[in-house]
């Protein structure tokens, strides 16, 4: 690994290094999609942080599970399956309009984008409403015992993700409806990408909170 050229021997230099432009970047695109755009990587960063938060809640869940002989503890009915399963289905179905408005955004097709965004917002609002009902279907108050606390922690942690995604999609829908700046098309596509993550990361939480009490 030899060094090209000669290293300045003593101390450096007064003036700054002059810059000689040799390449012109004026006709590079300003709106790009997918991992070429900066906000996509920012979302990946937040996904990593949120995945770590959820994993901390799941670690606490399985740690507390180890402390009990019977899970859920005696006299605590296991959570109902009806409302949570419907909420899970609605969440997964809400990915369809997400995919569609992402594809429309990539084609800069405004009417299709706006139409599917509103569809996605409605489905996510339904999912949020169902999630609020899910808290009661846990069949236990958060301060009853450690089982209740960790179950509520997992569901509430993901609830904040769902709420954030719903409100972000709502904001983008309103923006696209009223102002429709071209730069926001890649933002819309990346919002769909975040929705995929948000729904995907709910699957292990759903299994943990609703199915594990039945299997263990």
């Amino acid at each position: 690994m030899t060094v090209v050229g000669e290293i300045p021997i003593e101390t450096g230099r007064e003036a700054e290094r002059p810059l000689r432009p040799v390449v012109n970047a004026s006709d590079l695109p300003s709106v790009v999609y997918g991992s070429r755009v900066v906000t996509w990587w920012g979302t990946v960063g937040f996904m990593l942080a949120e995945a770590a938060t959820l994993s901390a809640c799941l670690v606490a869940y399985y740690y507390v599970l180890r402390n009990y002989e019977s899970w859920p503890p005696l006299r605590t009915p296991p959570p109902d399956l009806f409302v949570p399963t419907i909420s899970l289905v609605v969440l997964i179905l809400s990915l369809v309009p997400c995919y569609l408005f992402a594809r429309a955004a990539k084609r800069l097709d405004k009417p299709a984008t706006v139409r599917w965004m509103w569809a996605a917002v409605v489905m996510m609002l339904i999912a949020t409403g169902l999630r609020l009902m899910e808290f009661s279907s846990l069949n236990v108050r958060w301060d009853a015992n450690a089982y209740a606390s960790v179950a509520w922690a997992v569901v509430f942690a993901h609830f904040t993700l769902l709420l954030a995604d719903t409100l972000e999609t709502l904001l983008f829908a309103v923006v696209m409806q009223t102002r429709e700046p071209t730069r926001y098309y890649s933002g819309v596509a990346e919002d769909a990408f975040y929705s995929y993550f948000m729904v995907a990361v709910w699957i292990p939480c759903y299994v943990t909170v609703y199915l594990v009490p039945r299997w263990v």
């Binding site: 101390t11 810059l19 970047a25 004026s26 990587w41």
Partner: protein
């Protein structure tokens, strides 16, 4: 570097006049607004990072005063200078400040200041998020110190073991204030980590492929990934503790199925990577200093990068060596002894590479290089004393004794503060345009070096003598008086050394000799621009041809033109080979990040007293984030070039 052949508009010589006009236009577009409003709305990475560095130094000074008070109390046995309650607050706030309000924010601010210039870009990837991060950090710090100054500071220790920190044995809101301070600093740390990662991945100068990224930047990226994985664990654990105290959740209540060890696992899974998060940037700073002052690139670039990455991974596998005295299974504990030993190998390799660099270089031992040698001397004592603590049987004798503060301070003062002070002397000319005095620098170095040894080596001996840690006093017949007095005298030395450093900074700011663009003849891009660097860093984005950007050729630097000069535009390049990929317009200065930070502040501080605070505050925060996401008015003659994926 095969940049796609673009029609070069003009390849004439760069005459200063065109630079002048370019400089004038760019300066007009990129500068902060005037006065206080400009200060509050700034989104320039250097002004925010400098502000954050000064704030972190202020917290360092406050924590230093707390340390001095503690050493004054422990100088003599049975002294009644400070009572137990006040002393417990002092050591808790000293530990929490140093870990959460000084160390992590300082290394991240140094990263946010120098990484963009070193990789040849004009600003961090998300300027408003950067401003938001600083304001949230500031609110967290002010909250903790408002509590300390009104005698309601947290008093349960910086790792806040339950059930002492639980609702029954820590009455009042002291521990809640600590828990929310953790939430604030974690948000700020995660945000800064995302900034560094995305800026390095997407905005490197053309030609700076991954194997040409400076070692300092590599260290900061590894640190940022560790932050993204470790910090959420303590944010979750502190929120669980806050909810246990506020709405009676049962996470840590053993009578209702919770477990005190759950807190210890969650906290130490974060806290051990945290001390490596604090130490790895120290490696980055030492790499920069050693290269410049040995007049040669650092030996074993690949070895150091691989070592840094492996330290990052290994640090997540060691946390149980903080819990050897708890009823965990014996076999599990010896696994963690082996893991703790393994992490010494990459650290060793990194230090050997630096010694090889000095060996084969032409080193000039100015103050920064002195701090590097001080780092090697002190950090190795810290590492070796760590060997005692990772061996289970010896740890059972030495954990929770004064051996611990000895070990921590050797590792953190040696591993982070000495490289930081070296970096301070190294980059002070670049930040302020003035040189620091070498004489005062050497005086402060030797005062600090001797001070650290006189303060903390006696603490290692006190640990062996059986003195428990976190004691506000000790009996006269224990025989620990002499060593404690020596340690307190050492603390005095440290204080004098820091005072000399502050005098050096003040004098150099006022009347230091002008530094010019590149006083040390460095190899990385920050020495290519004037000191202090203009708001936009580079008139034209430079093109990099080798690992040592400025040593590759001493003539003019090739550059990329064509970015708009009437907008805040930044060049984005591909991740692996840094080929020009797209242009991105950055937002203008805006007050919205401050509003969002205040809304988050209201949410969390109100949430200390009433859970309704989270709901109402959450709505407020959403409104602020809505204003943040709302598109600005499209400016005249905007023509977006869209590249739709096939």
């Amino acid at each position: 570097m095969s940049a796609r052949p673009l029609p070069a508009e003009h390849t004439g010589e760069s005459d200063p006049k065109s630079i002048e006009s370019v400089h004038g236009r760019l300066e007009h577009v990129w500068r902060n607004g005037p006065g206080l409003w400009g200060w509050l709305t700034s989104v320039n990475h250097k002004s925010i990072a400098l502000r954050s560095i000064i704030t972190a130094f202020a917290f360092f000074a406050l924590a230093g005063v707390e340390a001095a008070l503690m050493r004054a109390q422990l100088a003599r046995p049975e002294s009644s200078l400070i009572g137990p309650d006040r002393y417990n607050q002092l050591f808790t706030v000293h530990g929490s400040t140093m870990m959460f309000l000084f160390a992590v924010p300082m290394v991240q601010s140094v990263a946010l200041y120098f990484v963009p210039i070193m990789i040849g870009t004009r600003n961090v990837a998300f300027p408003r998020l950067n401003a938001f991060g600083y304001w949230v950090y500031l609110i967290g710090g002010v909250l903790l110190y408002a509590a300390l100054f009104t005698n309601t500071g947290p008093d349960q220790g910086w790792f806040s073991y339950v059930p002492l920190a639980g609702p029954e044995f820590s009455p009042g809101k002291r521990v809640d204030i600590w828990a929310q301070m953790i939430t604030f600093t974690e948000i700020a740390a995660i945000v800064a980590a995302i900034e560094v990662i995305v800026t390095v991945f997407k905005q490197r100068a053309p030609g700076m492929s991954l194997n040409r990224v400076p070692l300092f930047v590599w260290a900061m990226v590894v640190m940022s990934f560790m932050v993204l994985v470790a910090m959420p664990y303590v944010a979750t654990a502190s929120m669980m503790l806050a909810m246990d105290r506020l709405i009676a959740t049962q996470f840590f209540n053993y009578a209702e199925g919770g477990d005190a060890l759950l807190w210890q696992h969650l906290f130490w899974f974060f806290a051990h990577p945290e001390v490596y998060i604090i130490f790895i940037p120290g490696l980055g700073m030492v790499s920069s200093i050693v290269a410049t002052f040995s007049r040669r690139p650092v030996f074993g670039y690949t070895a150091i990068v691989l070592s840094t990455v492996s330290i990052g991974f290994l640090s997540f596998g060691l946390w149980v060596h903080h819990m050897f005295a708890t009823p965990l299974p014996q076999t599990g504990q010896s696994f963690f002894t082996a893991a703790s030993a393994m992490i010494a190998i990459p650290t060793g390799v990194t230090i050997f590479c630096w010694i090889a660099t000095i060996w084969s270089g032409r080193p000039r031992f100015d103050t920064p290089m002195l701090y590097v040698v001080g780092f090697i001397a002190l950090f190795t004592i810290g590492g070796l004393s760590g060997l005692f603590l990772s061996a289970v049987p010896v740890d059972l004798q030495l954990t929770d004794t004064f051996f611990l503060p000895g070990h921590i301070h050797y590792v953190l003062l040696g591993g982070m503060v000495f490289p930081l002070f070296g970096a301070l002397h190294y980059w002070f000319p670049k930040v302020t345009g003035r040189m620091m005095s070498e004489r005062l620098g050497k005086v402060s170095f030797w005062l600090l070096f001797v001070g650290v040894n006189v303060t903390f080596f006696p603490q290692l001996l006190l640990g062996a003598a059986g003195m428990p840690r976190r004691v506000y006093t000790y009996l006269a017949d224990t025989g620990w008086g002499g060593l404690n007095l020596t340690s307190s005298i050492g603390a005095g030395l440290l204080a004098v050394g820091l005072l000399v450093l502050v005098v050096n900074i003040a004098r150099s700011l006022a009347a230091g000799p002008p530094a010019g663009a590149d006083p040390w003849g460095g190899e990385t891009l920050e020495w290519a621009v004037s000191s202090p660097a203009p708001d936009y860093n580079f008139a034209y984005i430079p093109i990099v041809h080798g690992r040592s950007a400025l040593w590759a050729d001493t003539g003019d630097l090739d550059a990329v033109s064509g970015l708009r000069e009437d907008r805040r535009e930044v060049l984005q390049t591909t991740m692996l080979d840094a080929e020009p990929d797209s242009r991105h317009e950055h937002p203008d200065p805006t007050i919205v990040p401050l509003l969002a930070a205040l809304a988050t502040g209201v949410t969390l501080i109100w949430g200390i007293f009433d859970p309704i605070g989270f709901a109402v505050g959450g709505a407020l925060t959403f409104l602020a984030l809505g204003a943040w996401g709302w598109p600005q008015k499209t400016k005249p003659n905007t023509h977006e070039i869209v590249e739709v994926p096939k």
